[in-house]
Amino acid sequence: EDAEDNDVEDSDFADFEEFDSEESRERRVPSAEKHHSKQGPASDSKGKENINDEVQEEEGDEASVEEEDELEYSDFHDEEEFEGFEGGAPTGKSTPHLTIAKVPASAIGSRWDSYILEIMMVTGLVIYLTNFMMGRAKNARLAQAWFQSHKSLLEENFVLVGDDGKREVGTSGGEENPTYPLVKESEHIYTLWCSGRQCCEGMLVLLKFLKRQDLVWCISQLVRKQSDRLEIQFNLGQDDMDSFVWCIAQKKTAVRLVKEMYDLGTYCPERRLGEKFGLSSSFILMSEIPEALTSIVDSKVTATLNKLAHMVDYIHVSDQYSGPKNQGDGSSQTPSTEVKKVLICGFIVPGEGQAHDLTVIDSMKPLLQLSFYLLDKLKRFRLSKEGKQKAEKNRAKVYEAQMRQTHAARAEAAAQRREEKRRQEKDRMLQEEDPEKQRRWEEKELRRQIKKKQPKIKQLKVKSL
């Protein structure tokens, strides 16, 4: 049996041996001869001789094929056929010269200089931030320069100069607030609060500079010129001023103020030219009681205003000041709105935001002195009897108009409340289990409806004589 197994094993593997030999031959001999080796099964030793013979035959065939190509090729070499073709037979040995075309850089996309737009964006950001730093510094310098030049005048008039409402009075500030005593509201707005003077409760100076820190705004400034502004607001006590409202303003500002300010729009809507009162033609006057204006704006004030006309934007005196109307809902003033007595002066820093050396800022000192002069005159001025009556009448009329307006609103609110209550009662009744109660409620409701529909007759009781 073992013998048979061996024979079987030998024969079993015989096929593979053949398979192995073919594979090795394939690797040695180029694929072109593969079909010959498959024809006859050969044993190992005999097979090798046959392969050598076959290889020689193959090379012989190839040689003959090449010779045929050359002969055939020579037929192609016909002068008439190929005019202007000098080249001889192609050698086939020279390596082809490949030229790599120049590919534009942006197509590749990985190199830095293709990110042109990104570089421009980043440069824009850097320029913006640089301008932000410079603009902020310039505004801070201007605020300090204004304070330094007016410091002596402020300290002559006020006990407290500079207060942010948090620090103890009299303690020197400066640690947390670098611009002390000026309080920085934003990069272009600084405020200064002074108090402790006769004729007023306090004075708030508002330095509204141009938005130099914003590059976009600087560009818009090239198109539309604007100037730095200074606003001085005095809060007056009850006895520091009588009851009247007037305003002197440049033409454009006057139109804006009448629209924006509730008290001007209500008490002195008519506008008159400044020339009638000896003022320059650029000014407009609005006054509730003429005597109040003529006695306060005396010759001295008129001369100063005419001299500084390019720096004075508006002067607003009012005992019913409640700030601008809130444009959102357009609702006008109600009796509950808090009113106060104020003197507000709006000034323009000359130079349209350009030349700001100390001389320009010092030239603004008379403006502050004018404000103090007006303040003292307001304290001393009292209305005549007729003026007083006229003022009282105006205020009463306005108060009634406001009450009527709010009355309608109050009535509406009351009606809504009643409606709400009745609806809740109805819901409660619907959920009520006891039919008896429901029936009684419906009767009551019915009686109320009938009574509501009945025409209202006044019943007069006549006593028997």
């Binding site: 990110y115 002559e156 006990v159 509201e185 306090g202 004018l370």
Partner: protein, 109 residues
Amino acid sequence: MQQTGGPDPRRPEKIHRYKPIPVGTPGSPSDDATPDYLNVLGMIFSMCGLMMRLKWCGWVALYCSCISFAHSRVNDDTKQILSSFMLSVSAVIMSYLQNPQPMTPPWST
């Protein structure tokens, strides 16, 4: 209009402390709404940049945050400004991570 050397106008007993004007009252210096508008605009642009992968939206959002920062008031809370900056920077970075190709100017397509 020189101050004639009259009596001293100062009155220590009439000192009133400064009461900051409540934010948002019309006419107060903090009434300027530019920073708020630009903040919202910046948020919208950075959302567009993030979701629609538009690179220019991210850049515009970054500029809106810068301008809103320049107009910000001192008593504004810095969280608002910080969040709009972070959002716009993340919009720019995300749009470049998803597609590192450079922005193509509209006139070149």
